[in-house]
Each structure stands twice: as C-alpha cells, then as structure tokens.
C-alpha cells in the first residue's frame, strides 16, 4: 500500500506535469466539451434594453408669472433647484416594482403575474403567504433589473433579464408606461403646488368678498338714511373700500389661476425614449466563455491537486 509523503519534491511534480502534457491537452478538450454541454443544458436568460432621458423644464424661467405670484406670498421659487424627478430612483422604487410584478400578463401561455411566476415552487410545503410572495418577487425583479446611467449625457439605460425575450421586452414597456404615467400625474410639480395655493386663496377671497358684500347689504337695509350721519357714511365707505380691494384681488387671482394652469402643463417633465425597448433573441446567459473559464479553472485545480497527490503517494 502506498503511503502519502507530506513533503513532495517540486522537481517530480513539474516532471510529472511535463510528462503528462497530453493529459493537459485532453483536459482542455474535455473542458471545452463540458462547457459546450453545460451551455446547451443550462436555462437561457434573455435581456431587453431601452435607453431614456428626461427633459426637465428650466424651473426659474418656466415658472415665470407663478414665481412673481409666489414672491408676493413670500415664497422664493427661484431658490428651488434640482430636478423634480430623478429617474433612476423612480425606476428603483418599490412602487414601480410592485405595480409591474402584480400586473396580470401572459407568461409562457399562462395568464398570471410575476408574483406567481417568480414564486413557482415545486415543493408543496414551501407555500408562502401573499406578502412573502410579493417581497420575494420584488427581490427577484430587482436582481434582474440593471440600471446604467451616463452622468455626462444623462442617458439612462435600463435592462431586464428574464427567461423569455418577450417577457423582458414587455417588462421594459411596463416600466416605460409607469414612468410616463407617473411623470404626467402632476405630483410634486411646483406649478401644481402654486395652483393649489392660488385655488385656496381664491376660495378664501371669494368667501371673504361674499361676507363683506352681505354685511354691506345688511348695513344698507338697516340704515336707509346712512348718508345723513357722517359716522354711517364712513362705515359705508369702509365696506365699499373692502369690497373693491377684495374684488380686485379676486379678479387678479382668477387671471393668475389660468396662468398657473398653463405653467403646470408647460412644466410637466417629458420622458424621451432614445432607444425603444428591444429584446435580444440571443441568450444573455449562459455565456460559453464564462462557463469555459470556470470549468477550466476548476479542472486545472483538480488536475494539479491530483498530480501532487499522485507524486506524493509514489515518491
């Protein structure tokens, strides 16, 4: 029986490797064959890609009249800087992911959603509740979503990997739709908040105007000969002055309300699609080169390890 000698002469190891160089070539050949087989067997993943940018209006110039109204209320809109939306954050948001994974769609001829698709377990005891399924599917979705941003041009490239080219493309289309819907919803727009402010002010001014007009009507009704008394005349003049001021304010606010509505429309950020969602029909993974690299490294390790062991056994 051969015993393993713990100290191995390096010369013997190298000699063995040189003598067995045909084995090394065979190992290389075997690795290539094994890699090709693995490449065929392993499940394929397909990637779809789209490129987008966001055109944000220049806030300081775009706000125009709204800024002047805002300044009359003590708000300086010109100090507000930065994009209202940052697209990568929006794409990475859980609300977008949730909306997409819960959307019903046809996947491999089954009408289902990504929550069910990603949680398709073979073992019955692995059943999860709805919340767990949703969390899992969002995690899987995130791991398959690749987001690249070119900070020079601002172009954002979104990639999605799945086991079907059509599904990858469909998911990107859904992201596109979601982004458009979100951007056009008017949430967080500064002009919208200004409009809200103006509407509130219109409502207050109108009720104030109505109240003062009612008070004036009541005053005239109670004091038909008010022009005989200097005090009553003074009180009448006060009512008249308040009504005139409120009336002017109300008229101005109505004009500004229209302007703000126009600004709001102008301010809506626009999603520019540089490259429409496009799915590559060639598999994204597995990659033959990558498999070959891994297989070759492992085989080489096994070969060297075995050679050293053999040399130590026979020395």
């Amino acid at each position: 029986m051969n015993t393993v000698d713990n100290n191995v002469p390096t010369k013997n190891i190298l000699k063995k490797i040189i003598d067995d160089k045909s084995k090394l070539f065979f190992l290389l050949f075997l690795s290539i064959v094994f890699s090709v087989v693995l490449n065929i067997i392993l499940p394929k993943k397909y990637v779809a890609e789209m490129s987008i940018t966001q055109s944000s209006p220049n806030l300081s110039s775009g706000l125009g009249n709204v800024s002047s109204i805002a300044s009359s209320f003590g708000i300086n809109l010109n100090n507000m800087k930065g994009d209202v939306f940052y697209l990568p954050n929006l794409i990475q948001s859980n609300s977008l992911k949730k909306s997409i994974v819960q959307k019903e769609r046809v996947i491999h001829n089954n009408y289902t959603n990504l929550v069910e698709y990603f949680n398709n377990t073979f073992l019955p005891f692995q059943q999860l509740d709805d919340d767990e399924k949703l969390t899992n599917s969002i995690e899987v979705f995130s791991s398959n979503l690749i987001l690249l941003e070119d900070q020079n041009s601002g172009m954002i490239t979104v990639k999605f990997i799945s086991d079907s080219p059509s599904l990858s493309e469909e998911v990107l289309n859904d992201i596109n739709i979601y982004l458009n819907r979100y951007l056009n919803s008017g949430i967080n727009l500064q002009a919208s908040s200004m409009l809200e402010l103006i509407n509130e002010e219109i409502s207050t001014t109108k009720s104030e105007l109505n109240r003062v007009e009612d008070q004036l009507a009541l005053f005239i009704d109670e004091n038909r000969n008010y022009f005989d008394s200097p005090n009553l005349v003074l009180q009448f003049k006060r009512f008249e002055r308040d009504i005139e001021i409120l009336n002017q304010k109300y008229t101005n606010l109505i004009i500004q309300q229209t302007m703000a509505m126009i600004e709001e429309k102008k301010q809506l950020p626009k999603l520019n699609i540089i490259s429409e969602p496009f799915s590559d029909t060639n598999p994204y993974s597995p990659s033959l080169i990558n498999i070959l690299f891994v297989v070759l490294i492992i085989n080489l390790g096994l070969y060297l390890s075995r050679t050293i062991h053999k040399v130590s056994t026979f020395s």
């Binding site: 191995v8 002469p9 941003e149 900070q151 891994v294 492992i298 080489l300 390790g301 390890s305 062991h309």
Partner: protein
C-alpha cells in the same frame, strides 16, 4: 559609463539577463513616446510576471526542493477559490483588463518575493546591476530630452518610477567616493526638479537624507544643532523667496500643492480629499457586497465601485481618464492599504504588512550593524518605493518588483546563486 553600455549592447550576458534587459528596454522605452501607462508597458508587465514565474519553475525543476503536500494543496485551492470568488462577485460589471491586472499584481508580488527567497539571478550581482542602472539612466535622459523638446506637458513621469537609478548612484557615491556617481546624482536631482514630478523631488531629498543618516550616523546627529538648523531654514527661505519673486517657483507643480486658489482650495487639500472620497466609495461598495469571503478576498480581482462621493466632489472633470468604466464604475484607489484590502482582502493587506515589516526590520538591523552595503541599497530603495504605496498604485511597475526581489535576496543569508540565470 560607455564601457558598461558597450557590454549591454554586446552579447556579454546570460540569456535570462538579456531577457531582463529586453523587458526593461521595452517597458521603459515605451514610456518615452507613449506616456506613463500605455498598452506596451501593460503587456511587458504581464510578460515580466510570466518570466519570473518561469525562472521560479525552472529553479523548482532543477533543485531538490521539497514542499509540503498540504501546503501545495492549500495554495492551489485557495488560489482557485480566490479567482472564482472574484469572477462571480464582479461578473455583472466585469472588465477583464482590470481582472487580469489585479490578478497579475498580486501574483507578481508573491513571485518576486519567492524569486528573491529561492533564486539569486546573476542580474542582481553588483556588477551587472550597475550596467542596468546605467542603461536605465540612458532611458531617463532620452525621456527627459524628448519631453523637453517635443512633449506639450513638461512632466517626465518615468523619473518617479525609476527612483532606483538615483538611489543607486547616491549609494555608490557614498560607498566608493567616485566622482562620476556624484555627477550622475546631481544630474538625477536636476531632472527631478525640471521633470515637474513632486514625488520624485521629495523622494530625492529623502534619499539623500536617509543615505546620509546611514553613512554618517552619529556625525549627522551632531550636525543637527540650533545654529545649523537656523542657518538651513534661513538660507532655504531666502532661496524660495528669490525663486518666487522671479516666477520660477510658480512653474513647478510642487508649488501648487501649497498655493491657494488652485481649484478654489489648497491643492494638497483637494488631492487628499479626492483620495478620501475614493476610499469612502470603495468602502460603501465593500459593505454592499459583504459576505464571508470579503474578509479574506475583499471584493476580488477586478473589483470596482461607483464613485458617488468622488463625483460629487470633483464633478467629472478631475477624474483620470481610463480609470472609469463606461457604466461609470471606478477601479483606482490611490490610498494603498484601502486599495489592497478592497481588491485582495486580508490576504493582500497581510502580504503588504509583511513586506513593510520585513523592510523596516531590515533597515533597523542594517542601522544597528553599522554596515553600508548593497542590502542597504535594496532596503532603502524599497522603503522609498513603499512610501509611494500610500499615494499611488506602485506594484503595477516592474522596477519595484525587481527591487522587491533584490530585497528578498539580501534578506535571506543563505541563497543559492544560479549562475545560468
């Protein structure tokens, strides 16, 4: 000098020494026309690593060396684990250039140390070594002449990589007192000033100070007294004032480190802040990818990070070209310990700590021993190269690897001299 050059040009060396010469010639010769980092010297770096690996294998084949089976198995499987770990961790953003570069750097350090430990190639004999230094000095001069005459930017970067040349001349001057080495040292010193390389200039000063300390020992400590210090400071200030008043100082990049209104801040503050942000970004990336393997292997070969903090600070225009991949990931970390921990984990950090430890210990021993020999030259030059480790990547240059091999040759007292090599 010319006799030495003749020997280089004639066929008077062994085959392996000629290969060493050829690699040095192509590696540093390419710098003259193609810049500090170019595709040619990237290839020659890889060739150098393969070459020293070949010498090691040849030595293992020729010698009766025995290595423990367990140790060999451990080396093989830890290497394979490291490679596969790096591959899978960085697969999504993999850049094979970075991956192979990092792999080569780690193994080049290990091979250089092993080469020095096991083999004594004849190129490291003092006589041959002198010929290499003359040869490299000629390359330095050519680079200097080319840069002054044709290049737009008056920076001669090769001098930072070839500090081994002036170090050798200073060492030889102190040792032999031959005047030619003094002239060569002065030439190198002038080049370090005119080359506009801050690191080279600082290192030249440090080199002279360190060699003087080792050579003069107690005399140098006696020299440092209040009178001499005041005289030195005063004369330096006068010289600086004259240079400043004549707008000579302003031409020098060293000046911008301490001059205000450079990018709105002090240059030195900007340089260090940028490097701190690199570390911060790399640390964030390390935490994002953290797993058990991170402790041993860091983020692996080809590890990269998103330069969020760095970009916020410099806003794009200060990033060095080529250091950022197309999906805006950055590979370079200037601060060496962070770079090694990020790419090679505790393995890399321990390796570099071992080199530092051995280097400082060797310098201490030499100082105690009161000797002024070639081991001091290698130890001190390696120490000066290692100082750069904290500021810039250094192990991607073959001369520090060469110096590392030389250092490990002289660490080991009983070396087998390989005549053929």
């Amino acid at each position: 000098m010319f006799n030495n050059l003749q020997k280089v040009l004639r066929n008077e060396f062994s085959l392996l020494t000629k290969v060493f010469f050829s690699i040095f010639f192509i590696h540093y010769g390419s710098v003259i026309f193609l810049g500090e980092i170019n595709s040619i010297n990237k290839i020659t770096f890889g060739l150098y690593v393969l070459f020293i690996f070949y010498i090691l294998l040849k030595h293992f084949f020729d010698s009766k060396l025995q290595i423990s089976n367990t140790l060999l198995q451990l080396i093989i499987w830890s290497s394979i684990t490291f490679i596969l770990y790096s591959f899978f961790l960085n697969k999504i953003q993999i850049n094979f250039g970075w991956f192979i570069g990092d792999f080569l750097v780690l193994y080049s350090i290990i091979f250089s140390m092993l080469l020095g430990h096991f083999v004594y190639p004849s190129i490291f004999s003092e006589d041959t070594f002198e010929k290499i230094m003359i040869f490299l000095f000629v390359i330095l001069i050519l680079d200097f002449i080319y840069s002054i005459s044709f290049a737009e930017e008056a920076k001669i970067r090769s001098i930072s990589r070839l500090i081994i040349v002036p170090s050798f001349f200073i060492f030889k001057f102190f040792k032999t007192r031959i005047k030619k080495y003094l002239y060569l040292t002065i030439a190198c010193f002038l080049m370090s000033i005119i080359s506009n390389m801050r690191y080279a200039f600082v290192i030249m000063i440090l080199m002279i100070i360190f060699y003087s300390i080792f050579f003069y020992k107690s005399k140098i400590f006696n020299f440092i007294n209040l009178k001499n210090s005041i005289a030195f400071i005063f004369s330096s200030l006068v010289l600086l004032f004259i240079l400043y008043e004549n707008n000579i100082l302003q031409l020098w990049s060293f000046y911008y480190l301490f001059a205000p209104a450079f990018q709105g801040e002090l240059g030195i503050v900007n340089v260090f802040l940028g490097r701190i942000y690199e570390v911060q970004d790399a640390y964030n990336q390390y935490l994002t990818n953290f797993n058990l393997g991170s402790l041993f292997f860091g983020n692996g070969f080809g590890a990269s990070y998103q330069p969020n903090e760095f970009m916020r600070f410099f806003v794009k225009d200060f990033s060095s070209e080529g250091a950022i991949y197309e999906n805006l990931r950055r590979h370079i970390i200037h601060f060496g310990p962070a770079r090694f921990f990020f790419r090679y984990g505790s393995i890399g950090l321990l390796l570099i700590m071992y080199i530092f430890y051995k280097n400082i210990l060797m310098l201490y021993k030499i100082f105690k021993k009161n000797s002024f020999d070639v081991d001091l030259f290698f130890s001190l030059t390696l120490f000066l190269y290692l100082l750069r480790f904290f500021l810039q990547p250094i192990f991607n240059d073959i001369m520090i690897l060469f110096c590392l091999t030389g250092f490990f040759i002289f660490i080991k007292t009983q070396n087998v001299k390989v005549e053929g090599a």
